[in-house]
Symmetry: C2
Subunit: 394 residues, 2 copies
């Protein structure tokens, strides 16, 4: 099995991007990654696009073929890889498999979603199409609704308060201010979103106990990575990042069918698989990008991945351990909360952030000396999770 490296990255500012089409965003970031890799005339063999719902958002399907056309990468093979909000992580996994099998040497992986082509309520409805159709979707359950119910249960079980959740949001907004590609560029404070008399107006309830600033925004965006063999990466003669571990796991579709709905089994198993493949443990991780579509998820994931004991994740946030400069910085990019969450782009954007951190190119948000990075991309409501361990090689 061939070992796989990331030799190029591309990302654009997330947010509302009315001027670009979905394919424009994919092409821009794809070109950036190809350019960054400096592979010269070596052809791209395969093009995988992580995207959830281009048909519903943009009236376009087969967007991977469209990207090949836009970049004139004929006759490269191309597919759209869909796994809801974990489509980006899944696309990287398939790129990994293509190279590991020896069938491809160079794979361009782009994650993208253009969600602002539709109105906000329609975007929420499209996203909710990932819920269980007969037990959740049909009753009008949305992802914020599921997250609200999960949050209530998790908070009760582990003594987590709204203040803990707010501290995740505050940290990630602070990090987003250091990331020029983040959708949300705005400092928030505990007073402004929680304790001030106007806080209920500034920060209205979305799905109790989750309020506006507990939820990621609806964003347009794209990100890209260029994968190749470590042999080719070495031949380029500069430090590069290897995909040391890839793990994935599934769980029941309906949240209520899990024996303990606070137990994110797929997160635990996906992370364990990725660490086993990489031959390391959570303690070896220097920087992590977790899937904080809702603040409660960053805390719950940090525990299920094994960074903290169950119940200790909230205290770690409160103690500043997960800030840049803390013992384990989580979401230095701003996370989904501040960078934004263009659904299919997120998993690839996480990898891009880790590569920047591992290369020492993350500017003001640099985690010093980062050698090993971890990303968790959470599909559905935790029913299909992809974990990556990336490592700097020099």
């Amino acid at each position: 099995m061939k070992a796989v490296a990331i030799v190029g990255i591309g990302i654009i500012p997330f947010g509302r991007r009315d001027e670009d089409s979905l394919v424009d965003m994919m092409a821009t970031t794809g070109l950036m990654a190809m350019d960054d890799a400096g592979l010269g005339d070596r052809p791209v063999d395969e093009v995988y696009v992580g995207n959830m719902a281009s048909g519903m958002f943009n009236h376009q399907v087969s967007v991977a073929s469209a990207l090949v056309d836009k970049l004139a990468l004929f006759p490269a093979g191309a597919e759209r890889i869909e796994n809801g909000p974990a489509s980006g992580g899944s696309a990287i996994k398939h790129g990994y498999q293509a190279i590991a099998s020896g069938l491809a040497e160079v794979v361009l992986v782009v994650g993208a979603e253009k969600m602002r082509d539709v109105a906000g309520p329609r975007a929420t409805e499209i996203v909710s199409c990932m819920a269980q159709p007969e037990a959740e979707y049909i009753y009008g359950v949305t992802l914020p609704g599921l997250a609200g119910m999960f949050a209530r249960l998790y908070m009760a079980q582990y003594g987590i308060t709204r203040q803990h959740l707010a501290q995740v949001a505050i940290k990630n907004h602070d990090n987003g201010l250091l990331n020029p590609n983040a959708h949300i560029q705005m400092k928030i404070t505990l007073e402004g979103i929680l304790t001030h008399p106007d806080a209920t107006v500034n920060n209205p309830v979305v799905a109790d106990p989750l309020h506006l600033y507990d939820c990621c925004p609806v964003s347009d965006g794209a990100a890209a990575v260029l994968l190749t063999t470590t042999e080719i990466a070495q031949s380029l003669g500069r430090p590069f990042v290897t995909v040391a571990g890839v793990g994935q796991a599934t769980d029941t579709h309906a949240l209520h069918e899990r024996q303990d709905p606070t137990d994110l089994k797929a997160v635990t198993i996906a992370a364990q698989k990725a660490f086993a493949m990489a031959g390391c443990t959570p303690a070896d991780v220097n920087v992590a990008e977790l899937h904080d579509a809702f603040t409660i998820l960053e805390i719950a994931e940090s525990e299920h991945v094994g960074f903290f004991e169950k119940g200790a994740g909230a205290r770690a946030v409160a103690a500043g351990e997960t800030r840049i400069g803390g013992s384990l910085p989580i979401n230095p990019s701003g996370g989904l909360k501040a960078r934004g969450h263009p659904v299919g782009a997120t998993g690839v954007a996480q990898a891009v952030e880790l590569v920047m951190q591992l290369r020492g190119q993350a500017d003001e948000r640099q985690v010093k000396g980062a050698q090993t990075g971890f990303a968790l991309n959470f599909g559905g409501f935790g029913n299909n999770v992809v974990a990556l361990v990336l490592r700097r090689e020099s």
Copy 2:
């Protein structure tokens, strides 16, 4: 690189299946394939679903995770693989890569589409979302429209008549009558669809020069194959089919941007790649499933794959060479024309038909002594094509 075998198949009758959901169809055929393989307690490592547009047709995304849930295959990895009408072929390709890389040993590949949940005109509109958005879709071009323009050009260039096209349809309807899973179970004649005074009523124009019986129907359906290593296949102790070649190629998105729009370059390249990998030539093929979404495509593809010289494909049909019993039977299943074309299912259904033929289990439509089979799955309007060479091993 591990060699890959197909050890299980599943398919259900295509047509209008109001009683089943998309996931029901996937689960039924998936179980059939697992049952057929007889792998016992060996777990399924990965689940790939070829599907174009479950969001638009069925208000559901992330259907691969939903299938894992329905079949309780946790914690198997799972993705939906989308490449328009070639989604099924692409899903098999990704299953191949997963096993070839050594990362998975058993992969369930299901192709499925449930198109009859929406009205006919809406189905045509959804399918047209694969056309080039700025140069085709925006002007109202549909796939029958593109096929009509292509047919006119191709017929003029190679002296093909409407009678030649009709002979493709007649053959495939005849074959469909031998296939209990075919959507269309109806004999048609040259008189009924072409020469009788009522033929213009029976067989109205859809996109001149293509008439109703030149076009595949809009179908619900699913099909599945179970892939594993040839080592495991051998351990099962019975004849099996290997995936000897997988080829894919892309071309310009917009049909009019091709230097010669009658030249289906991606078909030629995909087939060449598959044959090169299998170490054989078109002359070695005993049975083929081609992508006859429109009758003209069966003729054009049979030439571009290399079965016949350019311009000789239509004469071969007229001479009966492509009938069961002829020198190269094409679409013994009835093809898309009669079996039906549930978009994401088609590529997998083609593989299922070839496996039945290579195992000698195709009953009345059996191609005697078939050893090597070929399938061509045509995405977009020929802008992303997947070719497979399957071979019986004993």
